[in-house]
Symmetry: C2
Subunit: 353 residues, 2 copies
Amino acid sequence: MELNDLLRQQSEWLKGAGPSAEIVMSSRVRLARNLERVPFSHWANKKQLEQALNSVETAILESGCLDDPISVRLKGVEEVDRQFLVERHLISREHGVNPDHKSVVFSRNEMLSIMVNEEDHLRIQALQSGLSIHQAWGRANRADDLLSERLTFAFRKEFGYLTCCPTNAGTGIRASVMMHLPSLVLTKQINKVLQAIAKLNLTSRGLYGEGTEASGNFFQISNQFTLGQSEEEIIDHLQRVVLQVIEHEQNARRALLAQNRELLEDRIWRAYGTLKGARIITSHETIDLLSTVRLGVDMGLLKDVERATLNDLFIMTQPAHLQKLEGKVLGAAERDVKRAALVRERLTKRSAG
Amino acid sequence: MELNDLLRQQSEWLKGAGPSAEIVMSSRVRLARNLERVPFSHWANKKQLEQALNSVETAILESGCLDDPISVRLKGVEEVDRQFLVERHLISREHGVNPDHKSVVFSRNEMLSIMVNEEDHLRIQALQSGLSIHQAWGRANRADDLLSERLTFAFRKEFGYLTCCPTNAGTGIRASVMMHLPSLVLTKQINKVLQAIAKLNLTSRGLYGEGTEASGNFFQISNQFTLGQSEEEIIDHLQRVVLQVIEHEQNARRALLAQNRELLEDRIWRAYGTLKGARIITSHETIDLLSTVRLGVDMGLLKDVERATLNDLFIMTQPAHLQKLEGKVLGAAERDVKRAALVRERLTKRSAG
């Protein structure tokens, strides 16, 4: 099991690099694919699922679609490790829950991962830092092409790719951008912006996708429809809207700076002081405070810490990451203590004082 | 006007020294005296008040009862300066409000001060750090003796000293001890303790005396009655009760350390982090946070800062002190910004980092 190795590296998408990295945490493209003549995962029997698992894994490894691939069969993997993969955005929550006949194969740099036997037989996901939807799409598309040479995907001329849930049919693409919009929240413009996004056929979700609430002022904006448009059109549309949201957030930041600089700095430095002081801290409070400090770093108001350090802390302070760092199961109260210690250590190590 | 000089020195009673200084901020003894054959200040006419003012001031200066005396006639003194004297505990709130025919004379080290034409013609006050009621009494008593050689105080064999308010008649003494009782507050034992204190004929007040609320977990414990007991009996009784309250606070601190160390450290370090981070902070929040940090210092949990620095900040962050430091009138919002800057500067200067 090489999962522990991941603890010592930072996922590429957390590096805080790439275009508009001061507002866009990461870009993601996910393609849903199913095997022809095999029932969707939910309807397939054990034998069919096991066959699909084997043939897809073999195709992934033989096609060379992933650099330096790591393959993890989820059955037999401890719950904390599955949760760890969820926290790293390598698998979905759903994929971690019932691990039978499921696996994930991902490139060591974590920029490309493929879930096998999730809702669809294949979920190809490309993830990278900054506003890089086109690049992510390029990498997902290349993997799809390479896999198509070895697997026959369920495809109908009139519908496009068939998927378990009809909302994914057609292109099977979901492109999403994780945006950090603290100033739109602070200036109470966020609801207006999210409503506008909804009218443009895009949806907004929280840090961990569908059904999760926005926390830490992170909003995952993605396409709502997969049918009737080409992948490029879907991506271009998302990119255009995201650029507008970026502009709104930038305007809100400028307005805060011009009109409420002291109030803003107060918030930012209090959050930083609390993070460096706390001895007990929940995951929820940590995310909120990190979000505020990140705004300070992104606006150049706080220079003691790197954006990449903060991004890393968003993930490292999650429950499974904390437990893997400690090498043992920890209750919620123990985690709150370890979390505070980790935050303090990381912020002190990287800061000037 | 030498008031600005005071800004550059720390009042002796803030030094955080003396017996039980980890719980007792300061001890104070105040004697109320009135001139024979002169109506009490409230009833006297302008001429009588002016005569009383002159004769008392002359007696103070000629008697040598104050070391290196500074004399301040309050009429003509700006409101911010009068408020400054209140914040330093050199005069009462009431004394600062209507300054006509009033003065204060105090020793340069601020350990002894005499208000003239407050409610009583003379209010002799000795103030010093730690649990030092007997010493404070000794100094107030010596000043009283020296002044008695030059002034005739209103005194009746059957009543003792006559005072404007009958609750002060007899000895005219009020002995009080400013106690810092954060652990009794945290462990919710404070009301029980205050009730017990009341049954023992002692009263509890806030930082700035009668009518002020307890803030920052400071409680000023003093004798309720001035009649029917000698000064020594009153002081001995107060001292005995205060020693018991100290023991309760110490027990509460030990219990917190044994049972809730992490929670306690979390509170203390968050308070410290917030004080070092804030860019805007009210007086009320400052006092609360300083109180928590002081508990950390007094318990040896936080070693980055000296008790004397914290004590000083309790006073320096008050409105008039901030304005005198800046050398100009500041509105509440401006003060909140200056206060945060001052706290940050002082805590950073004295801390290791």
